[in-house]
Amino acid sequence: MYKLTDEGKKYLEQGLPEKRLADALAKGPISMAEAQKMEDFSVAMQWAKRNGWIEIRDGRLRLAMKPGKLELQDALASVAKTGEAGAFNLQMLLSRNLAEEEREDLVKKARQYLGREIANIPPELIKTGLWREAKLKKYNVAVAGKKIYPGKKHHYAAFLDHVKQKLAFLGFEEMRGPIVETEFWNMDALFMPQHHSARDIHDAYFVKEPKYAKGIDPAILEAVKNAHERGTAESRGWEYQYDVQRAHRHILRTQGTVLSAKTLASRPRIPGKYFSVARCFRHDVIDATHLADFFQVEGIILDEGLNLRHLIGMLRMFGKEFANAEQIKVTPSYFPFTEPSASLYAKHPDMGWIELGGAGMFRQEMLEPLGINVPVVAWGLGIDRIGMFNMGIKDIRDLFSTDLNYLRSMEVTY
């Protein structure tokens, strides 16, 4: 048996507040300020809105839909009369605290729980205060609960997020670009000659169809072609005949450096710092240390007066920031688009010197055609290797694991 609360009794008499609001609006819109003066306004608003009866336009309340027959109002009357109502509406009255169970009924229900050990505490015991007499079972609290599988980040994605965040904190702005590229941007714009062993280390995947891209900026294309064929101000260039058609060939991006080239060609800030975390693709046999698609993290710094000492300073800082390494060394290296070039190594307690990445100062033959006349320090990190190193992963294929148990079990360290 149920009875109305004081609020319930009031609405039985005056009508539900949302109904009263709708009735008032049926005569015309009312300004918000005026409406707020109405009795039980906030309750009325909440339910009238939920029922889709009203809308606010230009600061005035308007009727959006005329209320139909109000079952809830009838339910109020029914409870007052018989102590019962239909299940759905009764539940609504209880949840709106317009009706409550008769105390005798509650007590009767609560008593059923007495005299035996109970597990979960029923609400009737709490409401009636009979919990004082109840015998609550003692649990074995040392047992872990039922296993749940929470939503969470992929462990490696979390690590990459951490890297991005760190670089943004260091003042680098993120660059992004397409995964299907042209040979032009991926290689030519980096002053890698079209027929040269330097491209051996970048064995690319070629797109079957469409083979060639349209719309490489003709001015940049011409400038890059000239740099390859005849060099720039102080350089003799590669001295060969540049193939413009081949420059348009579609390939899958092989290196994140393509994003640096594109950034340089589109009026970057000076001084400026840019980074990217880019998925790249190489024609490689897949094994424990190679994936056909992998991540590269890289970036550039542009400023007047940058020299090799800045490059070395930056690499040493990266070694500390990303690999937490005690011992770091920077050695001469070779990349087709930088001069001087350097590699960064960190000492691992068990594995010895590990190469973390490469860097260098972009060649003039690359910068001049792209319209840049300040030194540019460029760097790249073998982030997959650093990530595996930090997370204790031995097989690079585990980065793309399809084993759901494994994914669920991985800690999110970052």
């Binding site: 702005e173 992004r176 079957k208 710092k273 001087p340 060649r363 399809t402």
Partner: protein, 543 residues
């Protein structure tokens, strides 16, 4: 990067000193392994073929200034015929006397020859090299092109004579490199004055005249190629290596019937004598090092340049065995290498710049957080997939970007959707506790008037009982959290059940799909439970 095998004993004998690992920075070298006195040495510079031999590495530790190549005239000629002009136009050569070919030297020479032809010579396309017993051939030698069927000889390792077509088909080198000549009607051939074949460049030597064995004293070496300077560079490098091993080098004069960038009569080896000048202040500008002219010159000489200073300028002579020095900054690096990277004091970059994320990263961050909040496990998959997975198994008619030179069928196309990656995972985890709630926000590429990269967010719920509303409510909550207004409109994708799928429309544009995955698709992926899924193109969320 080329890896060479060198004997430590020979290396240190030629260098005149012990070589410790820390000293290898000078050649950008790294010891991969050392066994029984043989070092496997990786040379980091793909543009320095002069370093790809024991002689070349040792030279860096021995010489100051440009090493002298002591040349004597042999008075011998190679006569080039007009027929090769459009096929493989250039040749250079020399004679090395009193070589005393030992087993070790023979192996070292073959290694250098192969590294140059493979790495620097673009797998013999640009440069190939032949070594012959000098006394076997009658000079002047002839370099010409002939009809493939008009000539027969026994190639190395074979006793029987073959015509040039047969060599392309039967000889391992013919099969490997035949494509270089196949496009031409005539094939290059190198023979002596009596018409005896020495070799069929760039494929194979003759078994009779093109054989060098232990105990040979005088050898003749030639390089043919598509560009003249790299071909001469190759013979310069090999000549100097042989001189380092005690040979005396004699030049050969090559006579062309057509013009070349270096004239019609070229004596090889050729000491190019190229010079490059720069202001002394460039050292400070590029390297940040305060060096006097004398210091700079001494460092340069230790890297085998000749250098003089005049006024405020320094002029260096580039060694005739290098073609990688094309800008003064190339010389700067060598100064820094000689100075030692480890001795350079680091400087901090002082400029202040505002850091930040791309729109994509910011959006992906918010969307992923919402999905995780709704109990989804993030997954990460390769972008490379295949047409079977993307089109057939998923019953989608969409065209995909395929790879021409794929390495394995499994990775032969770029995914145009993330959904197949998720279905693939679900099909592999049938015995893992349900429900499976997974999502990925990943890169794809679609064909849309040319290839276009796209980022897609897709999610799946797999459970013994799951339906349309379970996932449409996720879409509703997700787009609500992202503050995007959307509509659902019944759709007709083959991947989903008819009547239980809808297009997600944002601002009048269809940007995604939500629904119950078609049972045929589930079967194709080996999934045993119903799956409700959605996929949204991130571009649609940014707009």
């Amino acid at each position: 990067m080329p890896t060479i095998e060198v004997s430590r004993k020979m290396l240190e004998k030629l260098a005149g000193r012990k070589i410790a690992e820390g000293m290898l920075d000078r050649v950008k070298g790294e010891i991969e392994e050392e066994n029984n006195g043989t070092i496997k040495l990786e040379i980091g510079d793909t543009n320095r073929p002069d370093l790809w031999s024991v002689e070349g590495v040792a030279r860096v530790y021995r010489e100051k200034g440009v090493p002298k190549l002591k040349l004597r005239k042999s008075g011998k000629n190679i006569i080039v015929d007009k027929t090769v002009e459009t096929i493989r136009p250039y040749i250079a050569g020399f004679i090395a006397r009193k070589v005393n070919i030992t087993e070790e030297l023979l192996l070292d020479m073959i290694q250098l020859q192969e590294k140059i032809a493979e790495n620097f010579g673009r797998k013999r396309e640009k440069i190939s090299i032949g070594i012959y017993n000098y006394t076997d051939a009658k000079f002047p030698l002839q370099y010409r092109a002939v009809e493939p069927l008009s000539i027969k000889f026994a190639p190395l390792e074979f006793e029987e004579e073959m015509n040039l077509h047969e060599i392309l088909e039967k000889h391992p080198k013919g099969r490997q490199y035949g494509h270089i000549v196949k496009k031409h009607k005539l094939y290059p051939i190198f023979m002596d004055s009596t018409g005896q074949v020495l070799s069929f460049p760039p494929l194979i030597n003759s078994n009779r005249l093109g054989r060098v064995t232990k105990g040979t004293s005088d050898v003749f070496i030639e390089a043919t190629g598509s560009d003249i300077k790299p071909a001469i560079l190759a013979v310069n490098i090999i000549a100097l290596a042989l001189q380092d091993r005690g040979a005396s080098i004699e030049t050969i004069e090559v006579l062309y019937p057509y013009a070349t960038p270096l004239g019609k009569k070229i004596v090889t080896p050729l000491v190019f004598g190229e010079k490059i000048s720069f202001p002394q202040s460039l050292v400070q500008e590029r390297l940040g090092l305060e060096l006097g002219a004398d210091d700079a010159i001494s460092l340069l000489r230790s890297m085998q340049y000749d250098a003089i200073s005049k006024g405020k300028n320094i002029t260096v002579t580039i060694p005739y065995y290098r073609r990688d020095v094309m800008h003064p900054f190339d010389v700067m690096e060598d100064i820094a290498v000689a100075y030692g990277y480890g001795n350079i004091q680091p400087l901090e970059v002082k400029s202040f710049t505002p850091g930040g994320f791309s729109h994509f990263t910011s959006l992906s961050e918010r969307a992923r957080r919402s999905m995780i909040g709704m109990g989804f496990q993030e997954i990460m998959s390769p972008i490379l997939s295949n047409a079977t997975a993307l089109q057939e198994k998923t019953l989608s008619g969409e065209k995909v970007i395929e790879i021409e030179n794929y390495m394995s069928e499994t990775y032969s196309a770029v995914r145009n959707s993330v959904l197949p990656s998720l279905l693939n995972l679900l099909g592999k985890n049938l015995h893992v506790e349900y429900p499976h709630r997974i999502f990925e926000f990943g890169e794809c590429a679609v064909l849309d008037n040319g290839p276009k990269s796209a980022a897609m967010l897709a999610a799946c719920i797999a459970d013994t009982s799951v339906g349309y509303e379970d996932v449409s409510s996720v879409v509703d909550a997700l787009l609500g959290m992202l503050g995007v207004k959307y509509e659902l409109k019944p759709s007709k994708s083959g991947s989903f059940i008819d009547g239980r799928q809808a297009e997600i429309i944002i601002g009048k544009k269809p940007v995604g799909i939500v629904g119950e995955v078609h049972p045929q698709v589930l079967q194709n992926w080996g999934i045993g439970t119903p799956v409700a899924a959605f996929e949204i193109d991130a571009d649609g969320l940014i707009a």
